[in-house]
């Protein structure tokens, strides 16, 4: 009983109280299945969805080809489309049918070879009409690029056929660094780690703490000898453990399910993740004590942590391309730095200038947010 009343600063009392509190928190977390659904089930679901479900790559895009000119030249012109792995052309009898399929979004584009094609080709100015379904702008631009490329290559080869001298031409030898096949899985899966950590760190913590404030159970804790620092630490430990479990799951999945290479060192990935998890936990604590209401806390956590880490961190949309104001918002978010760090470590390697900058920013945020959380958690009844 003595060490329960030990004055502040005596290690034994601090540790004893902390361990008891942590045990209580673990039990509380374990008992409520909804906590575990969020902490473990949702990360697993996200891993599977990100690894298998989300892809921005265009493969075998259905394209309708309408040959209104049945000449060999016309057939030859569109034959290049068959070779492309990105497009799967299908011959249709009429524009009427093609338009219907496009309206139903059964095809992404229509390639129309008009009746006067071969006549005009002989004269040197043939035309082919390309209609793309613009509703998904990104996909439409990619499909358009592939179709124009295939048709253009054919046209140039034809022009050079029988010519006395070959035409000079600049060609591009392209190399995609860090992601040679340029598959979106390679860049989505590392980003997944950011989402999982945000979810557990900021979101779950904000909700759980807000509930304690809302129901007044925190006040009950205040009348015990435990100190605010100990209460905060005890809240952090279980969610830190859950967050690290989420990280472990994501790392295992990235290596064994999706075979995303890890060029950098695992130690740095872990260090960066721990820093970001602390940032997220700090954010969750600050949100909960600022709102003290579960519904508000969930909304604020969603607005300040989850949605931005999905939309503004460079996860889906590259921050280089957004207006300056939005870029500034993006660069104020810790998730942006963690996203940059984790993607660099996975795909590029230990690029020290990037690693040091991002780690420093994350560490700064972690210290600041945890300090604010400590400052707003006071033994006070109101």
């Amino acid at each position: 009983m003595n060490d329960m009343r030990a004055p502040a600063g005596q290690g034994g009392g601090f540790l004893f109280r902390l361990v008891s509190l942590v045990r209580k928190e673990f039990r509380q977390m374990w008992r409520d299945k909804s906590n575990m659904a969020m902490g473990i089930l949702l990360p697993i679901a996200l891993i599977l969805i990100f690894g298998y479900g989300l892809s921005l790559d265009v493969k075998n895009a259905p394209v309708a080809v309408v040959l209104e000119d049945a000449s060999p030249a016309a057939r030859e012109a569109v034959s290049g489309l068959e070779l492309s792995p990105y497009i799967s052309p299908s011959m249709l009898a009429s524009m009427h049918e093609a338009r219907r399929l496009m309206r139903e979004r059964a095809v992404d584009a229509i390639v129309r070879v008009p009746p006067d094609f071969s006549r005009r080709l002989a004269a040197g100015h043939a035309q082919i009409q390309l209609l793309v379904h613009g509703a998904d702008a990104n996909r439409a631009a990619i499909v358009r690029g592939y179709v124009e490329g295939a048709l253009g290559t054919w046209a140039l080869r034809r022009a050079d056929r029988g010519a006395a001298s070959a035409a000079p031409a600049v060609t591009i030898g392209q190399r995609l660094w860090f992601n040679a096949a340029n598959t979106s899985t390679w860049y989505l899966v590392p980003g997944l780690i950011v989402l999982v950590m945000t979810l557990v760190g900021a979101f779950l913590t904000a909700l759980v703490m807000a509930r304690e404030w809302e129901r007044g159970t925190l006040e009950a804790l205040f009348v015990t000898p435990v100190r605010p620092t100990e209460i905060l630490l005890a809240k952090l430990v279980p969610y830190f453990v859950v967050g690290m479990a989420g990280l472990a799951l994501s790392l295992l999945a990235s290596q064994f399910l999706f075979a995303v290479p890890m060029q950098g060192s695992l130690a740095l990935v872990l260090l960066g993740s721990v820093l970001y998890l602390l940032v997220a936990l700090g954010l969750g604590l600050v949100i909960s004590s600022a709102t003290r209401n579960q519904f508000m806390a969930s909304q604020v956590a969603l607005l300040t942590s989850f949605m931005p880490s999905l939309m503004l961190s460079g996860f889906l949309f590259d921050l280089r391309d957004v207006p300056v104001a939005i870029r500034l918002v993006g660069h104020a978010l810790p998730a942006t730095y963690f996203m940059d760090l984790i993607r660099t470590l996975f795909l590029a390697g230990n690029v020290w200038p990037v690693v040091l900058k991002d780690c420093a920013v994350l560490a700064g945020y972690a210290v600041a947010l945890l300090a604010v959380a400590r400052a707003v958690t006071r033994k006070r009844l109101d």
């Binding site: 790559d57 035309q127 082919i128 702008a137 000079p168 591009i172 509930r211 519904f295 607005l303």
Partner: protein, 372 residues
């Protein structure tokens, strides 16, 4: 019957008051929809506007300079570094100073003069595969235009073919044009679902649900009374995003408001059905909230909003059939961009109707069997 209607109206009023009573919760219904549609409307772009590049020109010839000048002339490419050797290129790309590095070899001019193909080497940072793909396409377009000019200057036969491209429904292929309509459905769903899920859970946590049960209200009436206010709030939030799309981002709307709103009403009803089922299954507010999020995140990701459903494997495509958001986004995009009428969106309306027809009776059944 009129008596039942009166009771429902009274309950609806009480529910609306409970949601709207304090300024903070009123703000939380409007501010997120407004801020998110603004932020994401601007952020959501796959179009490149700024490509920093590094140039290693070992040929120092006129043609190479002409090509580079064309690149600079696009206004998108911005030279940030001129590495002295190949080793330098690695550094600027690694450290993300440049997205693209272009290396023009010493024999570039000679090979062109000989009438052959002269390669330039393009190195792209593909940490973001989408950006890398776009950057490649941009460079390719510039090089192609330059080649056409070279052919003209050299008197070689021009390409005999012109491809005339046109994009339906979104002539300039702007990402925002398809994202904003999608967000009309997506942004309103979250709070509709959450408010519904919380409505019963809150009463249960605070012990007021028992009081509600001893009133003359039947379980069905309670359910209707709990369902109507979130539908109204969901429609109001959808309207906020719609107004932003129409008047702030000026994305023209091709279809009719009546079709759009009948689709949205069906969608909110389906969402409310799901919310009420969650509500009946959870013991307290925290559970209701967590289950809502566990459900809504996969729903958002598998809705086709950010990545096409057609790219998903078969199993996941099947799973999206139970996702009301998937149909709502398709419906809103088609009505908004393509201007289709009610008949054309029946394939989207029927699944929404089916989801509502399953979840609402399920919730009513759960109320009776788990609560009473």
């Amino acid at each position: 019957m009129t008596e039942a209607l009166r009771r429902i109206v009274v309950l609806c009023r009480k529910e609306l008051l409970a949601i709207l009573k304090d300024p903070a919760s009123r703000a939380i219904l409007i501010v997120p929809a407004l801020v998110q549609s603004l932020l994401f409307g601007y952020a959501a772009t796959y179009d490149l506007s700024d490509v920093p590049y590094a140039l290693l020109d070992e040929s120092r010839g006129e043609t190479a300079q002409g090509l580079v000048a064309r690149l600079d002339g696009t206004g998108i490419f911005r030279r940030v570094a001129t590495p002295r050797g190949p080793g330098d290129i690695a550094r600027v790309v690694d450290e993300q100073q440049a997205l693209v590095a272009i290396r023009i070899g010493p024999d570039f001019e000679d090979r062109l003069a000989a009438g052959g193909e002269a390669p330039i080497q393009l190195i792209v940072d593909a940490r973001n595969s989408n950006t890398a793909g776009s950057a490649l396409r941009y460079v390719a377009a510039v090089v192609e235009a330059y080649n056409a000019e070279l052919r003209r200057r050299g008197g070689v036969a021009r390409s005999p073919l012109r491809v005339e491209s046109r994009a339906w429904y979104n002539p300039n292929l702007e990402t925002r044009w398809y994202l904003m309509p999608g967000m009309i459905a997506a942004l309103s769903m979250l709070q509709t679902l959450l408010l519904t899920a919380l409505s019963v859970a809150r009463e249960r946590e605070q012990g007021t649900f028992d009081q509600l049960l001893v009133t003359p209200l039947t379980p069905v009436e309670i359910m209707v009374g709990k369902a109507v206010p979130p539908v109204l709030i969901g429609l109001a939030q959808a309207s906020i995003v719609l107004l932003m799309a129409l008047f702030w981002f000026e994305v023209p709307m091709a279809g009719s408001l009546a079709t759009l709103y009948s689709g949205l009403a069906m969608f909110t009803l389906a969402s409310v059905g799901i919310g009420l089922s969650i509500s009946a299954l959870s013991a307290n507010m925290q559970q209701a909230m967590l289950y809502t999020f566990v459900l809504i995140m996969p729903m958002m990701l598998l809705s086709g909003l950010t990545t096409p459903i057609r790219n998903m494997p078969q199993v996941l495509q099947m799973a999206t059939l139970a996702n009301p958001l998937r149909f709502a986004i398709d419906l809103v995009q088609r009505v908004y961009l393509e201007g289709v009428g009610l008949a054309a969106v029946v394939p989207d309306l029927l699944p929404l109707l089916a989801i509502a027809a399953v979840t609402l009776p399920l919730a009513a059944w759960l109320f009776r069997n788990r609560l009473a």
